[in-house]
C-alpha cells in the first residue's frame, strides 16, 4: 500500500500507528489469553461442581445422549449435545438439590416414541424443566424432552439459538409428527396457560384439556404416559389474576404473586417436587373424529392424571420435605 504514513486518506497506515500497534499487542498477548484462562478455569470448576453434586454418572449419561444423536447422523432439528450438557448441569442441580425431586414410576416410560401428558402448574414452567431433568437423570436410557415452543421465540436473538440447541422446536403439528417418527419424547401440557396460572385457591384442580394431543397420539399410534407433578403449585402463591393489566399489556394472564415484589424472594419457594409417572395408555380410532368422541378419550387421560395427583397429595408428608 502506498501513501504517506499516518495520513487520514490511508487507513492502512493508521492501523500501523505505534500506539495502536502497542495496544493491539497488549490485547492479543495479555488481555485475551488471560480472559480465556479465566473463562476456562471458571468452566472447569463449574464442571467439577456438577460432577460432585450429580456424581460421575452424569458424564456417562451425557455420553449416551451424544451417542444417540450421533447414530441418527446429527439431530435434524439442531440439538447440540455440548449446549445441552451445560443446561442439563444447571437443571440437574435444581432437580437434585433445590427441589429434591422424588420420582415414582419412571420405568413406565417406554423407550421409543412417547407423549408425556402432565398437569401444568406453578406460574413459571419449572415443572416442565424438572420433568426434563428427571428423564435425563432417572430415565433409562437418559433422554431429552423435545418440547414445542411458540413461533415468536424464533424471532428473539440468542433465545432462538439456545432453544434450538436444547432440542426445542417450533410448535407446529408437522414438527411434532416428525419428532415422534424419529422416536423422540414429547412433553405436552394440555391445560396450557389455563393450568399454569391458576390462583392458589384452585391448586391441584385440573383445568380443561385441549384435544390436539389426543388426535396426534391416535394418528401416529403413540403411547401416552400420564404424569402428575406434585409440589409445583406451592412454589409461587398466586392470589388471583390481574385482568385489567393482562388486557392492557396484551398478555394471556397477569398473575398476582406477592412474592415477586419482595426483593430477594423472586426465586420459587424450595418445595419438594414429586413426580408420578402412570402406566402408558394407548388409544385407537379415527384421529379426525368428532370432538365429542375425542373428548371421551381425553377425559380418560385427565382422570388418570387427577388420580395420580390425588394419590401423590395423600402420600406426601409435607409441602417442603
Amino acid at each position: 500500500m502506498r501513501g504517506v504514513p499516518g495520513s487520514a486518506q490511508n487507513p492502512g497506515a493508521l492501523l500501523r500507528h505505534p500506539l495502536l500497534a502497542r495496544l493491539t499487542d497488549f490485547a492479543a498477548q495479555d488481555v485475551i489469553p488471560r480472559a480465556q484462562r479465566a473463562y476456562g478455569s471458571a468452566r472447569e470448576s463449574f464442571e467439577d461442581a456438577t460432577v460432585r453434586v450429580l456424581g460421575s454418572d452424569f458424564d456417562a449419561r451425557i455420553e449416551q445422549l451424544r451417542a444417540r444423536y450421533q447414530r441418527m447422523g446429527g439431530d435434524p432439528f439442531g440439538l447440540d449435545p455440548e449446549t445441552a450438557k451445560l443446561a442439563l448441569g444447571i437443571v440437574s442441580i435444581f432437580h437434585r438439590v433445590y427441589f429434591r425431586a422424588d420420582v415414582h414410576g419412571v420405568e413406565n416410560v417406554p423407550s421409543g416414541r412417547v407423549l408425556l401428558v402432565a398437569n401444568h402448574s406453578g406460574q413459571v414452567p419449572i415443572d416442565g424443566v424438572i420433568i426434563g431433568a428427571s428423564m435425563f437423570l432417572d430415565g433409562e436410557p437418559p433422554r431429552v424432552i423435545r418440547a414445542m415452543v411458540e413461533k415468536w421465540v424464533q424471532t428473539l436473538p440468542y433465545v432462538n439459538v439456545l432453544f434450538r440447541s436444547l432440542g426445542q422446536v417450533v410448535g407446529v403439528p408437522e414438527n411434532c409428527r416428525r419428532l415422534l417418527e424419529l422416536g423422540e419424547m414429547i412433553l405436552v401440557f394440555p391445560e396450557g396457560t389455563r393450568g399454569i396460572s391458576k390462583p392458589f385457591s384452585q391448586r391441584y384442580q385440573l383445568q380443561d384439556f385441549g384435544l390436539g394431543f389426543m388426535r396426534l397420539a391416535i394418528e401416529t399410534d403413540t403411547p401416552i404416559v400420564p404424569v402428575a407433578v406434585v409440589g409445583a403449585e406451592e412454589q409461587y402463591v398466586n392470589l388471583g389474576n390481574f385482568e385489567l393489566l393482562a388486557r392492557a399489556m396484551g398478555m394471556p394472564v397477569a398473575p398476582v404473586v406477592p412474592q415477586w415484589f419482595i426483593p430477594g424472594l423472586q426465586m420459587p419457594l424450595p418445595t419438594k417436587y414429586r413426580l408420578h409417572f402412570g402406566e402408558p395408555m394407548r388409544f385407537s380410532g379415527d384421529p379426525d373424529d368428532d370432538d365429542s368422541v375425542i373428548e371421551e378419550k381425553v377425559y380418560l387421560v385427565r382422570q388418570t392424571i387427577q388420580a395420580l395427583i390425588d394419590r401423590g397429595l395423600r402420600e406426601r408428608p409435607s409441602v417442603f420435605w
Binding site: 447422523g73 446429527g74 435434524p76 432439528f77 439442531g78 447440540d80 413461533k151 415468536w152 424464533q154 424471532t155 428473539l156 436473538p157 440468542y158 433465545v159 432462538n160 439459538v161 434450538r164 422446536v169 417450533v170 407446529v172 408437522e174 414438527n175 416428525r178
Partner: protein, 350 residues
C-alpha cells in the same frame, strides 16, 4: 393430500396417459407404441434455456454425450462442445419457436429464470413470466413430452413459523417478505397449472435448496466472502446441495415416467455457524437492525446487490423434506456436507 395422491397416481399411469394424450393431439407422432415413446423421451433432443449459466453448462456437458442438446440463451456460450446446437436469442422472440417447430423436441429444461435484484423489475417480470408462458405454449403446441422447471426451495420463504422440513404441499409464501422472488413463485404456479391442464406432457418442478458450487448464486457468493456477516443471536439450520447433485436430479427428472413436484436437498442439515466454521471463514456478527439498515444504505448507494429482506435466509429456517424425490425419482445426494460446502471454493473458471 388429495393433490399429492393424484400426482402419485398420475406417476403410475404416466405412460397410459401419454398415449391417450398423443391420440388426442393426433398427427405428429407416427408410432404410438410405448417403447417408442420412452425411447424418444430418453434419447430425443433436449432444449435447455439459460444454458450459459454455470449450472446450465454443467448439465449440458453431461447430457450431450447421451443425446442431442439444443441450448438457448441471450448470453454467448464460450468453449461450447461442438455437438451442442446453440441459439443466442431472447426466448420471447418468435425465432425461438423455430427450434420447436423444426425438431422433434423430447424435453424442455427451463433454467433461464433471471434473478437479478438490481435489474429493471418490469423487464425482469416480462422476461421470466412472458418468456416461460411462451415456452409453455410451444411445449403444448409441438407436443413436447417432457417439461422440467428448476424452481427453488426459496419459494416457500424463510419464516419463523415454518415447520423444520417443508413438504411439496406447503404454501409458497416466499414472495410475502420480498418481491424479488415473486417471478419464481409465479413460474412455479404456471408449471403446476400446466401439469394439470396438459397431462400429455410430463411436467416436473424441482425445488432445490441452496445450490453450492462454482455457480454464481446468492448462497454460494455469500459463503465465498472472506469475512461473512451473520446476524447476532441467529444461527438457523440450513440445507445445501451440491451443483452436481442438482444436475443429477435434473437427469432423473428427464427419465420417462417422472412427473410432479419434488424438493431436492443435499446432505443432512447443518447450523449456519457450523457451516462457516467448516469453511474456516471469519464471521462478523451484526445485530439484525444494524445489518438491515446497513444493507439498505449500501443498496441505495448501489454498493451491494443483496436486498435487505433476504437477510431472513440467515435468520429463519427454510428447509425441505425431499423424501419424495428420493423415493419416486430415486434421487440421492452423492456429496457429503464438507465436500458440498467446500465446492464454493473450487476453481471457478471451469
Amino acid at each position: 393430500m388429495d393433490r399429492d395422491d393424484a400426482m402419485q397416481a398420475d406417476l403410475e399411469e404416466g405412460t397410459d396417459d401419454r398415449r391417450q394424450g398423443d391420440r388426442r393431439q393426433g398427427g405428429r407422432r407416427l408410432s404410438d407404441s410405448a417403447s417408442f415413446l420412452s425411447e424418444r423421451l430418453s434419447a430425443g433432443p433436449v432444449v435447455i434455456t439459460g444454458i450459459c449459466g454455470r449450472l446450465g453448462r454443467r448439465l449440458a456437458r453431461q447430457l450431450h454425450r447421451d443425446r442431442p442438446v439444443i441450448g438457448v440463451d441471450r448470453r454467448p456460450f464460450h468453449d461450447r462442445p461442438k455437438d451442442i446446437e446453440f441459439h443466442q436469442l431472447d426466448i420471447r422472440r418468435k425465432k425461438a419457436q423455430d427450434i420447436f417447430r423444426n425438431g422433434d423436441i423430447a424435453a424442455l429444461v427451463h433454467l433461464g429464470v433471471m434473478h437479478n435484484p438490481r435489474g429493471n423489475s418490469e423487464e425482469h417480470h416480462s422476461w421470466n413470466v412472458t418468456g416461460f408462458q411462451k415456452m409453455l405454449e410451444w411445449v403444448r403446441r409441438y407436443n413436447v413430452p417432457k417439461l422440467v422447471l428448476i424452481s427453488s426451495a426459496n419459494v416457500y420463504g424463510p419464516r419463523p413459523d415454518n415447520p423444520q422440513f417443508l413438504t411439496e404441499e406447503a404454501p409458497l409464501l416466499g414472495a410475502g417478505a420480498f418481491s424479488e422472488i415473486r417471478d419464481l413463485v409465479e413460474l412455479d404456479m404456471l408449471a403446476q397449472s400446466f401439469f394439470w391442464k396438459h397431462p400429455q406432457t410430463e411436467t416436473v418442478v424441482l425445488r432445490p435448496t441452496h445450490i453450492l458450487g462454482t455457480v454464481r448464486n446468492a448462497p454460494s457468493n455469500y459463503l465465498r466472502l472472506k469475512v461473512v456477516p451473520t446476524l447476532m443471536g441467529f444461527d438457523p439450520m440450513i440445507q445445501v446441495v451440491h451443483q452436481d447433485d442438482v444436475v443429477q436430479a435434473i437427469r432423473l427428472a428427464l427419465r420417462p415416467g417422472a412427473r410432479g413436484i419434488f424438493n431436492v436437498a443435499g446432505p443432512a442439515p447443518v447450523a449456519l455457524g457450523q457451516a462457516l466454521r467448516t469453511l474456516g471463514r471469519a464471521t462478523l456478527p451484526l445485530p439484525h437492525a444494524v445489518a438491515r439498515r446497513g444493507i439498505e444504505r449500501l443498496w441505495n448507494l448501489r454498493m451491494t446487490s443483496f436486498p435487505a429482506p433476504e437477510l431472513d435466509y440467515i435468520r429463519y429456517v427454510c428447509m425441505v423434506d425431499d423424501s419424495r424425490a428420493r423415493e419416486v425419482l430415486g434421487y440421492e445426494s452423492r456429496f457429503d456436507l464438507t465436500s458440498t460446502l467446500k465446492a464454493v471454493d473450487e476453481e471457478r473458471w471451469v
